[in-house]
Symmetry: C2
Subunit: 685 residues, 2 copies
């Protein structure tokens, strides 16, 4: 096992640059950490401390491994997790926490393959739906469009079995994680064929590998997709099935059922599936916030240790400055930090919404479902887009060291990049949100009943001219209130909506009209999501303020005033980034744009000595960060050097024990060079 190399941070050896930064933070980082993580903080820390005693969980070797070796290491980590779970009697929730705390991805499906009987009998309905489906759904030529899947499960009444087939090359299952090498069973999505009639796509449990030998079962072909841009610990694979029989009982019958006679019984509560999707997407939103937070922890700490430039500034007398003190660097990282917090707050509120909604659904009330589901779609798309874009920006802000795996951002960035595609491709999700919004509005316009329309959009629907009269109430030299900013985002959304509705109505208001307006519809969903991020941030802080007041604490002290500045910064920055949407109808004037820019600058300057606290509060350990430049103690350069030397010690060697390639190729090339050019030792210039 690799040691924890470079040695984990020793807080007593923290570099002076970070010590002095931390001394200036105005709030208790621990309080903010508790606020961000809530009740999961204690188990997170307990479990992480346990994990980080065992070198199997060291991520130090990851920057140097091949895909094959990454996979082996992820298996080792998975195996150890299983062992620790048993030894420590972890709950299912503890296990989930552990998988988050290791700072790496393991084939969880392995876990499912081991424990399917346990899972089936012990997990709640909801957990089963989160963890069992999704395997072996996507086909080679078919993505998110379930209706077009070609795999079949044909009922054979004589033997009470289904016969599974992937009849064409294009219907081969393609992409499922852990399918290529790890899994013994999978849930396969196939068209249910009963007495020649197609009942649509349903999930079936399929054994794909034999016990002991692990060889593919008869009729099963399995394979590996090869390297990906990231997530290479996981063996994404393909699966072809040729005439494989399974007992009828292996259809997953929690929802729809097939009787012994081959009679179809449709699902009773299909809405539950939507509720699950909301939870998964809320998770992606929250992950987007933390993944960006991880990149920013690295980039901000590094920017406080790294010195560069400043030669031209006479007052510095030739001293180099921390790169965080270059205006552009501070601007990029502080605005990204505001975005990360906005996403965390929205993730938090989405979970609350999901829990409320789930309670309703269980009681048979599905009124909120469509809105909640549609909103979660667009937010998943918006936040995964924004998070990955800003993570990439943070990577670039680290210069060359950001390009290297030992910088630490590469791994988390390339892993998070899958979130723009999985669980619903982002463009398709935006279109879902927009379609829901437009249908709601078109129906409301017809019936004059606006109750289903989001409140902020109602005034403009009641009076079309109201948007032309509205003006933002931004004045110079003052903070911009949450109300003002929220109103601006509602105005913008209503304006985009007005244009899109006019277009759709002109084109006949049907699906063809919507298909013609995709670009603007995606824009509409984005504006909807941007508004949510802005509102939710302010709302979450208002709630926390109430909580503090009810506990008798002073809300004008501590982290809350700092987060309020961050919320204002987030809203102003998002507005300025899309200023055209706000200025094109004169809602925000040219002078107001200038004032907003000044206010943004003021906020960024005001947050200058808080930002180290804001990233420390994410509470990410050195092993989770796995970064030479983002470590807690700031010993960047020693760490880069030590880590590179360790990496060399585990590189694959050549036949003579030297660097792979030297004896094999380079030696002869160099010899030939010497033969042609003479010995090039100490050439005379």
């Amino acid at each position: 096992m690799p040691p924890f190399i470079p040695p984990l941070s020793d807080p007593t050896k923290t570099v002076p640059a970070l010590l002095s930064e931390r001394a200036l933070v105005s709030f208790s980082v621990e309080s903010l950490t508790q606020f961000l993580h809530g009740e999961t903080l204690i188990p997170q820390r307990r479990i992480r401390a346990l994990l980080e005693q065992d070198p199997v969980f060291s991520n130090a070797d990851k920057p140097f491994l091949s895909r094959e070796k990454m996979y082996v290491r992820s298996l080792e980590k998975a195996a150890k997790l299983v062992e620790m779970r048993k030894r420590n009697e972890w709950s299912e929730e503890d296990m989930m926490v552990a998988m988050r705390m290791i700072g790496d991805s393991t084939p969880q499906i392995l876990h499912e393959a081991l424990f399917i009987p346990t899972l089936k009998t012990q997990l709640s309905d909801e957990q089963q739906k989160i963890w069992l489906p999704n395997y072996a759904q996507t086909e080679l030529a078919h993505g998110s469009n379930l209706r077009k899947l070609e795999t079949t499960a044909t009922f054979i009444p004589e033997t009470d079995e289904f016969e599974i087939n992937t009849p064409t090359l294009n219907s081969m299952k393609w992409w499922p994680g852990a399918l290529a090498q790890t899994s013994t069973h999978c849930a396969i999505y196939a068209r249910l064929i009963l007495h020649g009639k197609d009942y649509g796509v349903h999930p079936f449990l399929l054994q794909i590998r034999a016990p002991v030998t692990h060889a593919p079962m008869p009729g099963i072909e399995l394979g590996n997709l090869g390297n990906k841009i990231g997530f290479n610990t996981i063996d994404n694979g393909f699966l072809r099935v040729h005439n494989v029989r399974i007992p009828r009982s292996q259809m997953m019958m929690r929802n729809s059922k097939v009787t012994r006679e081959g009679k179809y019984e449709p699902a009773k509560n299909a809405k539950m599936n939507y509720s699950t999707m909301v939870a998964i997407r809320a998770n992606i939103v929250r992950n987007a916030g933390f993944a960006l937070g991880q990149a920013l922890t690295i980039a901000i700490r590094y920017s406080m240790v790294r010195l560069q430039g400043g030669d031209r500034i006479p007052s510095l007398k030739g001293e180099e400055v921390k790169i965080i003190d270059h205006g552009m660097q501070r601007f990029r990282l502080t605005t990204s930090l505001a975005l990360s917090y906005a996403m965390l707050m929205t993730g938090r509120l989405m979970f609350e919404m999901h829990r409320r909604n789930l309670k309703n659904v269980i009681q048979g009330e599905v009124g909120l479902m469509a809105e909640v589901h549609a909103t979660s779609s667009g937010l998943k798309a918006l936040t995964s887009d924004l998070a990955t874009a800003h993570m990439e920006d943070a990577r670039r802000a680290c210069g060359g060291h950001g390009y290297s795996w030992c910088g630490g951002i590469v791994d988390i960035l390339t892993t998070t990049l899958q979130d723009v595609t999985v669980e619903g491709e982002n463009t398709i999700l935006h279109l879902q949100t927009s379609r829901w919004l437009l249908k709601t509005i078109l129906a409301a316009l017809k019936t004059k009943d606006l109750s289903a329309v989001p409140a902020g959009l109602r005034p403009a629907l009641q009076d079309a001219h109201i948007l032309d009269q509205e003006r933002a109430t931004i004045v110079p030299g003052q903070p911009v209130s949450g109300e003002t900013l929220i109103a601006a985002f509602w105005h913008r959304e209503a304006r985009v909506l007005q244009e899109v509705v006019a277009r759709i109505l002109k084109d006949g208001a049907g699906e063809e009209a919507m298909a013609k307006s995709q670009v603007r519809m995606v824009e509409l969903s984005r504006t909807h999501g941007e508004g949510m991020l802005v509102r939710n941030f302010f709302e979450a802080l208002a709630k926390e303020e109430q909580t503090l007041v009810s506990k008798g604490q002073n809300p004008t002290k501590g982290f809350l005033p700092v987060l309020k500045q961050l919320a204002e910064l987030h809203a102003i920055h998002r507005l300025l980034e899309q200023a055209g949407d706000f200025t094109e109808d004169g809602y925000v004037s040219r002078r107001q744009v200038v004032w907003l820019r000044e206010r943004r600058e003021e906020l960024i300057d005001g947050l200058r000595y808080e930002i180290i606290g804001l990233v420390d509060a994410y509470d990410l350990s050195d092993n989770q960060l796995n970064s030479a430049i983002g470590r807690y103690d700031g010993r960047v350069y020693e760490s880069l050097y030590e880590w590179a030397k360790y990496g060399m010690s585990i590189m694959e060697k050549g036949s003579q024990g030297g660097v792979l390639g030297f004896d094999e190729v380079l030696k002869d090339v160099l010899a030939e060079g010497r033969r042609i050019n003479g010995v090039v030792v100490a050439p005379k210039l």
Copy 2:
């Protein structure tokens, strides 16, 4: 050697979807290819045809290799190139072409290490400056700031030697390509110390490895940095030097010199270095265009083969549609295509500018130099930012297959990502451009002599109110002329400039003022570069029109009208993407924004059946693309499947010949699972 797998495209087997697309293109793709590549097209094709007969140049294995094996393969390719060069009597230029045509990166430095004597005697001055410097410059804790490098070269008069030292951990050389394992010599940048006096940083030739054994020379420590996000064929490394003596003749004395007595003779024509930088940056601009073109060739071909969605559109009767026919997909890819062509046209004009300027410089006229150099800085930054952002967008537009290496975009994207950092980090370059622009303007305002100010900015400097009166002349339902669009970008630049100048003047107009305005200065450089891209595209087409007319050809036929549409689309799209800058002062009105959006849509629709021709014209071979989904014949799915199977055949195996990890870890875990849960074969649900 790997076969060319999947087999290279067979045009006679092209899928019907691409055949029908190609049949509809209105112009000769071959003519456009000739226009894009100019006189290099013939050698490019000749050399590529030679290379692609030899499986050593197959890139088919690359998606599956570890870093160590990628390096070995790159050595094999480099060795073969050297051999072919000799056999085919390639010129230096042919060799450069060959390195571009292999669709992979080899350690060119190997080539230099072999042929330094040849290079030194045979290359022109300019070529020497392009290919010799840049090695061993960056230090661990010091990036672009040459002045802060700590490595020393101290003259020892007694022995006529220099003693080289990297005195601290932070001054260790860090990052040079091919330094870790390949190079035998390097050019090391060190502070020249003569009789105790520091003369600043100069380059020295240093032997780092012994002949035959390839072991580091005494006093030399070398190492490898580990994996990077891309470019892993190249062994970026580090270098520490402890008291290493070299003869005085190993100082590189083409510019500054040191005599036997230790007397310093400064360089005579330092401006030449700037001219070289312009050439390198023009190359990055052009590469940005082609790299984005490579990603778009893949994404656009794939989007014409891939079917998805359309279920909701009644007129389609359940048929799936090519994803290019989804409005959002077409929008993303067509606007990116316009950007790629804009960058190619600007790269072309920059090379012309560079050649003109170089001629001037040689004749002692350096008047243009500052502008040309500053402009090239900002353009390098702008185009590398935009190209990589749009390449990533193209990758996402390919869904899951874009995430996989076999999709082909991952490799070119992660390789191109280094361009935002190397040859001047982008933020620093933008600031250089802005500083030059501001200094020019501030001087002109003082002297009232505007001759050094770019022409489009002069009117606003002569009369500050002119910007408030200007209005864009965009009318509905008509094409927007190049003049109108160029004027809009000048207006925007003048407006940003006005604000920045006011700010800087208010703050004292010195370096401290500029340091305080970094964010807006970067913005200023971006607007400057955006304007150049817009103007250059129209200008390059106007030139081509003249050329065609002078040859007696009809410029209203062929590719020229199509490229004109693309130039209009590019300018309109860039304007709309930053609409706030154009609408905040009312220069572009709200109605005009709507008309521009309509015109953009019209242009995208009009180009629908040209885009396959526009990407085919880049003339990239299947082996260069190295993509299962972007191949010329469109056989996407067969190729993905065949390629994955080939990849499995070269994966690293476990001790028992199976998948690495099964015998080592997974077997025991699964056995333990069976022991705990019983055999999970065919569980009854």
